[in-house]
Symmetry: C2
Subunit: 492 residues, 2 copies
């Protein structure tokens, strides 16, 4: 199956929109009757929506899953090209992330992981590209450089962040950390800049912009501290948890398990290619109206859409003030992720960290070996020197070439910035958003429950956070359902 | 409610069997009809059985939970005395353990944790007690000492174990590690002994026997490597994951959530105080016979009993050869855990590591402050110099006093070695058991599915592993149930 999402370029075909994925769903709907009143309508079939739908369906509720796209997975999906998965969005997973690992374990997929990096042969170096030029350093030097930069960056307490954020999953239990949400990364850089070498500066900024997909001026320092705390307050584990272990079969081989399990219960109705226009809470039920005019009715709704798209749906009654304010702020992540399949075998062990006005990417590395025995390179950019990779493919190819000389057979990417159902990549907040509005974002409004990785407590922004939130939403929905069923019974 | 389990001693009452706990269940049964044929009978209400029962009940199956004791929690339960929980068995949890953290997050209990250690005032030292005598060292020196010993112990590959065990959750993906299962800790000690100082030796042995509850001669070196790998190949994270974060309200405040949620589905029948004598797979269903003569029938059974007790139940047909062999080997953990409530406030920041023929305990530390503003000390022993704390309370008091002078108002403990439904503490294998028999232990036999933390893939021996296994069992049962329902339908 081919999704309309994503782009592929080869010298022969040029740029083509749409790529093959096992996450594309056919037929597009299994709805039998328009008249059904569902127990719950889940809007959005990313990991959060999939989890909510699956749990509610297992729990015996009649579930309708409504998805704008032609595929599952939301911001995490893989294109399977010639048997090899290119990860279009969220990619890496680890046993250090509880919700995602619980599911990997539940599906007995523990042995289906592989390690992205392979430094066993080839270039075996990192190209550091800063304001003063390029130089190649060993991966050990790369690690030491990013680590020393990061340790200066996070060391607000003499304990590398552990003192101010001992409980990374909690807002409440880290009272000393809240004040860092009024600081941007630029504010923190200003405090430590004098202590950084030029190379540390380049490596540090490259790495933190890789995390945020934003700019130094708009990313919250608090949120970066949270990532760091979740990564065991360690650069080694930041790498371990953020960019190391991925699925042999790609993310869609994982997401499809959630969908198929939900389907197997017999309680899941679904409709794809159906963007939602309006969610109207009628008091006794909720009406969901799609752009194509379809109307669905449910006793409850789980809105599993990302923060940056909430303004595009009409909620009635209107969203709470806090939610509205957060939605108007939006999150800042405009990460650009481009895959290249290249003939250069030596690049398997190559990486680069860059921060200079010339480069459109900040971070790139050998991510795998394709079935044709080519090297798979993945490159990341942010809002800084932002690239729209589908605007002019020659500019994109040039941007890749400027990182390292490569003989590219293929490019694959998804432009998340132009994607109207995401409007950005994983959540990364501006200063102030999280400490002010997290609880507002998490709050249900009437019969509508808001669930998304964007406001998870733990690994917010990650697949793990999406599953956390989907799990929470399902419990909320099921508890309310039980209450209503028992009320009905007591009236009978 | 008071459980028959556990012991409490005070100067006034002397030794009393039975302690109060919110994990004791009353009434002892909610069964309405003897004639029910359940979709699944779960034998054992520890975290594994509770998880299996809960998941199956949510999934709409008619579940019977049969438990030998008068309480839930199995080897993890807390006695609540004067509003303060003493943890009788499994205690500590962390976001580094995926299954347990997923549940903590699911129940929104992230803010209900506290840290055992408090080094802010008082003694602030560790007493190291080895063959050459006692000495007090700072906690920093304690950490450095255990860490340097451990790093020598695990460094079989120049990478502190990461080289041979890159995927701690997998048997298959760590082929280089299997050979270490033919070694005991004593075998490994023989290889490194010359490189250890006397103090390192004491600290190292104290720590690893704390982990195994066995002796150097019978504990598997492989299994210790696995604990180490799960702990991020780091002493800091071994402490972090093994003995740091616990529930304000005690383990039973967590376990009761599973039980109550299962009960709320309306699909859970249960019976406590009902040890099982025989599990007879009739081909079309399974008959479970209790010692008291009660007979229950189910379409499937989840046996959630620990390894060391499987020989006490008659399985018919007989257990597979592999399971039988593993059961005959048994696991070695005879950990002794004794709590003392003491008037000595300075001991809040005290700890001790001991390994010498005089001490009956290996490891102890200040674990909390009670509502009476007393210090709560927890002490651990193993098979080495094994103590039966209820045999002679004066010997036990003396063993505590020999660690440090204390003014004890109360002792609380559970003797796991004499407990016929556990026959030991958390699973720790002898050399050879895991690599030979893990897959056998995990295999279903007919309609009987075997689930227990003792043979989990990940955090085997931990609450996390129990939930992992309960989750697996529930999926197996529900898949088979679905198959049978659809077969029946197709016949109609």
């Amino acid at each position: 199956m081919t999704s309309k999402d994503g782009f592929q370029w080869t010298p022969k075909t040029g740029l083509v929109k749409g790529v093959p994925t096992i996450g594309a769903i056919s037929p597009k709907s299994n709805i039998k009757s328009d008249a059904t009143i569902y127990d719950v309508i889940v809007v959005g079939a990313g990991y959060c929506g999939l989890t909510a739908a699956r749990e509610a369906a297992i729990g015996g509720l009649q579930v309708l899953l409504v998805e704008a796209r032609d595929r599952i997975g939301g911001r995490s999906w893989s294109s399977n090209i010639g048997g090899y998965p290119f990860e279009m969005g969220g990619t890496w997973v680890t046993w250090g992330q509880s919700h995602v690992w619980r599911e990997i374990s539940r599906y007995q997929m523990q042995d289906e992981l592989e390690i992205s990096q392979d430094y066993s042969s080839g270039a075996k170096h990192c190209c550091l590209s800063g304001l003063t030029g390029k130089k190649n350093i060993s991966h050990d030097e790369e690690d030491a450089l990013v680590e020393s930069g990061l340790r200066k960056f996070v060391n607000v307490d003499g304990q590398y962040g552990r003192g101010v954020m001992p409980f990374p999953h909690s807002l409440k239990m880290n009272p000393l950390a809240a004040k860092y949400d009024s600081m941007t990364a630029a504010d923190r850089m200003a405090q430590i800049q004098d202590s950084l070498t030029q190379d540390e500066y380049t490596a540090l900024v490259g790495f933190i912009l890789l995390c945020s997909g934003g700019t130094l001026d708009n990313m919250s320092f608090y949120e970066f501290l949270k990532w760091w705390a979740l990564s065991n307050y360690s650069y080694e584990y930041a790498i371990e948890y953020l960019v190391k272990y991925k699925f042999h079969g790609g993310q869609s081989s994982f997401a499809i398990r959630f969908f198929e399990e939900a389907l197997d219960t017999g309680n899941l109705s679904y409709v794809f290619d159906t963007p939602v226009k309006e969610i109207h809470d009628l008091g006794n039920s909720v009406k969901v109206t799609a752009r194509n005019g379809s109307v669905f009715e449910g006793a409850q709704v789980v809105s599993a859409m990302p923060l940056n798209t909430l303004n595009d749906v009409v909620f009635s009654p209107r969203l709470s003030q806090g939610k509205k304010a957060a939605t108007n702020m939006g999150h800042i992540n405009q990460c650009v992720k481009v895959h290249a399949e290249v003939r250069n075998k030596d690049l398997r062990s190559w990486s680069t960290i860059t921060y200079n006005p010339k480069d459109r990417f900040l971070y790139a590395f050998g991510d795998g070996t394709t079935p044709s025995n080519n090297t798979h390179i993945v490159a990341f950019g942010s809002q800084y020197n932002h690239l729209q990779p589908d605007d002019d493919i020659d500019v994109t190819l040039e941007a890749m070439q400027s990182l390292v000389s490569m003989d590219a057979e293929r490019l694959v990417f998804h432009n998340w910035s132009k994607d109207e159902f995401a409007k950005g990549a994983w959540f990364f907040p501006t200063a102030g958003l999280v400490t002010k509005y997290l609880e507002d974002l998490r709050a249900s409004e009437g019969r509508v429950h808001f669930a998304n990785s964007d406001w998870a407590r733990g690994w917010r922004s990650f697949i793990d956070g999406a599953i956390e939130e989907g799990t929470r939403a399902a419990r909320t929905v099921m508890d309310l359902h039980k209450l209503q069923v028992s009320k009905k019974r007591s009236k009978m």
